[in-house]
């Protein structure tokens, strides 16, 4: 009797195929574990309206990576950055992040996305368990909300709530000193504009309870003309104006408000003014606009910060942005953590990062800390000051008090049900 085989793949072939498959899947990981270089993936925005910020993020990362590599790399492994354009689209950011890990063999992620994209990359990090450092999203809930918490993700970015507390406190002190009771607001009509303005006015009213918001304007994001907004504010006759317009929208607004002589008629608080992207573009920058610090090489006023700003400008022929210092700080943290762990294993690095304090040119006291309980950056230089039309643009910055920030942040977290 002859044994006949049924058509199809035999058990032996199936086993052989499974074995080969397992080897081919595992091979990159084996190879990776032995590779001399460590690949770090970075999705960021390199095209579209905010490409300048993504480019400045990439520049800052490369500036620091070159230093780390020159000093011997991460635990003896040279860093190879794999940086991809997400076009500012969340779904593309998630796709790119996944591809960087699964196809390109990146072991860690530096997430250079704006808020919407960051939440998408965060989910990829949750899914793949890869070490991820967010470097651009200021949305407080990304790390404040315990539902978002994962052990392998950290945020190395200033936070909206921190800015609002410091901004509200600073504005209230000016308000009391100058008797500014009638306020107007003008911010872009999307989540960032609404949330930031809401938090700012919340703390402004907390520190100066007699303040009244008499006019609100919500122009579209990237609106070309603000004339009707400017004239509406002039009609309301406020004593002070708050705005979180940014980038080209802010410079357009300033140019258009300037010819109505608006800046002579009220105190203006524009949280995003003190960033070189805006400061160097506005040709007729009015004196005396109050602004939060984004990135200014004169604040903190230390030789280390000035040297870092100059080194960046020397290499890229332009000044860094707010996103630049945050990305540079992320590389500094990763480098220090790898040194302490003497390893590039993501889990070990994550353990070391928790509560890690490092020396940093952007620290309020020369250091910054990755807070252990919510994996977020604290202790960075944060403050407000007034502009002048030439360098250093914001000669004196009043630094925020981190003790007050911590107290009010904890209170805010309680009110949100986060703790």
């Amino acid at each position: 009797m002859t044994r006949t085989r049924t058509p199809g793949i035999s058990r032996r072939s199936t086993l052989a195929l499974m074995g080969a498959g397992a080897i081919s899947v595992a091979a990159p990981w084996v190879a990776r574990a032995q590779a001399k270089t460590i690949k770090i993936g970075m999705p960021t925005i390199l095209s579209g309206r905010v490409a300048q910020l993504g480019t400045s993020s990439r520049n800052a990362v490369m500036l620091e990576v070159d230093k780390v590599n020159a000093a011997g790399g991460l635990a003896g492994r040279q860093i190879e950055m794999v940086i991809r354009d997400s076009k500012g689209q969340p779904q593309e950011a998630a796709r790119v992040a996944r591809e960087l890990v699964n196809t390109d063999g990146c072991e860690w992620l530096i997430d250079g996305e704006a808020s919407s994209g960051s939440f998408a990359v965060h989910e990829v990090a949750r899914d793949l368990g890869v070490l991820c450092v967010h470097t651009c999203s200021e949305a407080s809930s990304l790390t404040a909300d315990p539902k978002q918490h994962i052990p392998n993700a950290f945020r190395c970015v200033r936070q909206g709530i921190h800015d609002s507390i410091v901004g509200g406190s600073y504005a209230a002190s000016i308000s009391k000193a100058k008797g500014l009771k009638k306020w107007a607001t003008c911010s872009p009509d999307y989540a960032y504009g609404r949330d930031t303005t809401g938090e700012f006015t919340l703390y402004l009213k907390r520190f100066a309870p007699d303040v009244e918001i008499i006019s609100e304007s919500w122009p579209k994001l990237f609106q070309p003309d603000y004339t009707e907004v400017v004239t509406k504010i002039l009609q309301a006759k406020p004593q002070a104006l708050y705005s979180c317009l940014w980038g080209g929208d802010l410079t357009s607004y300033i140019d258009q408000a300037n010819i109505y002589a608006m800046f002579g008629q009220m105190e203006v608080f524009a949280v995003n003014m003190a960033d070189y992207t805006a400061l160097t573009v506005v040709k007729n920058l009015p004196k005396g606009i109050h602004s939060g610090n984004r990135y200014i090489k004169s604040f903190p006023s230390t030789p280390e910060n000035a040297a870092w700003g100059d080194a960046y400008k020397a290499k890229y022929n332009e000044y860094p942005t707010n996103w630049s210092w945050q990305n540079a700080t992320a590389v500094m943290f990763l480098s220090e953590a790898a040194k302490k762990a003497n390893s590039t294993d993501g889990k070990k690095i994550a353990e070391v990062l928790k509560g890690l304090t490092i020396k940093c040119p952007f620290g309020a006291d020369g250091t910054v800390t990755m807070r252990g309980d919510d994996h977020t950056l604290v202790g960075y230089a944060i403050g407000w000051g007034t502009t002048i039309p030439q360098e250093p643009y914001v000669p004196e910055v009043k630094a925020g008090d981190w003790k007050t920030i911590f107290e009010l942040e904890a209170e805010w977290k309680k009110s949100k049900g986060y703790i």
Partner: protein, 323 residues
């Protein structure tokens, strides 16, 4: 009962949800209409928005009227006008030369664009024409990105206009905006008279009506088409140049202006210059006064107005019925 009280039912859910200003504030609008200062400020504000829109929209409507092409890439000429003006201003420091560079540069660009590319798709399907135009929207944006960089730029206000605004009947009117309105008005008058009275104007109108007959009479219609496209581009470029001192310059800046220009041409009637002027001014005034009375619905008002016009007169306010 105040007028705003009538809208409490409308605004309450929004206020409860987001604690923000009411979507309808008719008290503010009524207050403005009864104050000469506010009336002057908001009217001039509307005129400024309207006149810039007119310059872009009239080129669009002119090209459609003569060439029967919906030039989807028209916003790019507005963008190039602004960039040409900024560059000329940086090199020469002369505001007048900057305006001339913006207008002349885009006229040349329009002529080349029409002769080299658009003239090849005149007989083609509308979809093909739209695709070619859209392709050039992307190409022109990338060209700007390559030449001037992806970051936003600012031309800055010339020193001559860095002066205190004028106060007319208590209203605030910046001198630069008076110039802007004046230039746009002169362009409208010259265009109107030129098309209706001059010989070349008659030829253009004849070409729009019957290009075959005009061609049979020995007139080079290709030249007329190129000239009209160049004129349309020049007007959009002039708008961009005039806007450059007060608006930030970015690749893709023409798109938002293009959308509003389409609304203007639809309201005014495709192919009608008077319609473009009236439509643009109406839109400007809707934005200006709408921001006071309907702060959360200003954009919606423009579209609502367009819908009302389309329903009551589908060809637009000054559009002609198809023969």
């Amino acid at each position: 009962m105040t007028v705003s009280a009538c809208f409490v039912w409308f605004s309450a859910p929004y206020q409860a949800r987001r604690n923000e200003s009411a979507p309808v504030d008719l008290d503010a609008l009524a207050g403005c209409l009864s104050s000469s200062a506010c009336l002057v400020t908001q009217t001039t504000s509307g005129l400024i928005i309207g006149m810039l829109l007119f310059l872009v929209a009239v080129g669009l409507t002119l090209i459609f009227g003569v060439l029967k092409i919906v030039n989807f890439s028209h916003g790019a000429f507005y963008m190039f006008g602004a960039y040409f003006a900024m560059t000329a201003y940086q090199f020469t420091g002369s505001f007048a030369l900057a305006m001339i560079a913006g207008a002349a540069g885009t006229a040349v660009l329009g002529l080349i664009f029409e002769r080299v590319f658009m003239s090849r798709v005149y007989g083609a399907d509308v979809l093909m024409q739209l695709l070619v135009c859209y392709a050039f929207v992307l190409i022109f944006d990338d060209v700007v990105r390559l030449i001037w960089g992806p970051e936003f730029k600012s031309m800055g206000m010339p020193a001559a206009f860095q002066v205190m605004p004028l106060f007319i009947a208590g209203g605030v009117v910046p001198p630069y905006y008076l110039l802007l309105i004046g230039v746009a008005l002169v362009a409208a008058i010259v265009l109107g008279i030129g098309l209706s009275r001059s010989r070349i104007g008659k030829v253009i109108r004849a070409t729009a009506h019957n290009p075959g007959m005009v061609s049979a009479l020995g007139i080079n219609t290709g030249l007329i088409y190129g000239g009209v496209f160049a004129l349309g581009g020049m007007l959009a470029g002039l708008a961009g140049a005039l806007a450059a001192p007060v608006r930030s310059l970015t690749p893709g800046m023409g798109f938002s202006v293009l959308i509003e220009s389409f609304i203007v041409t639809v309201i005014g009637g495709m192919g009608s210059i008077v319609g473009a002027l009236v439509g643009a001014l109406l839109l400007g005034l809707i934005r200006s006064f709408g921001s006071l009375g309907f702060p959360l619905f200003t954009e919606g008002l423009m579209y609502l107005f367009m819908v009302i016009v389309l329903v009551s007169k589908p060809t637009g306010l000054f559009g002609k019925e198809a023969a």
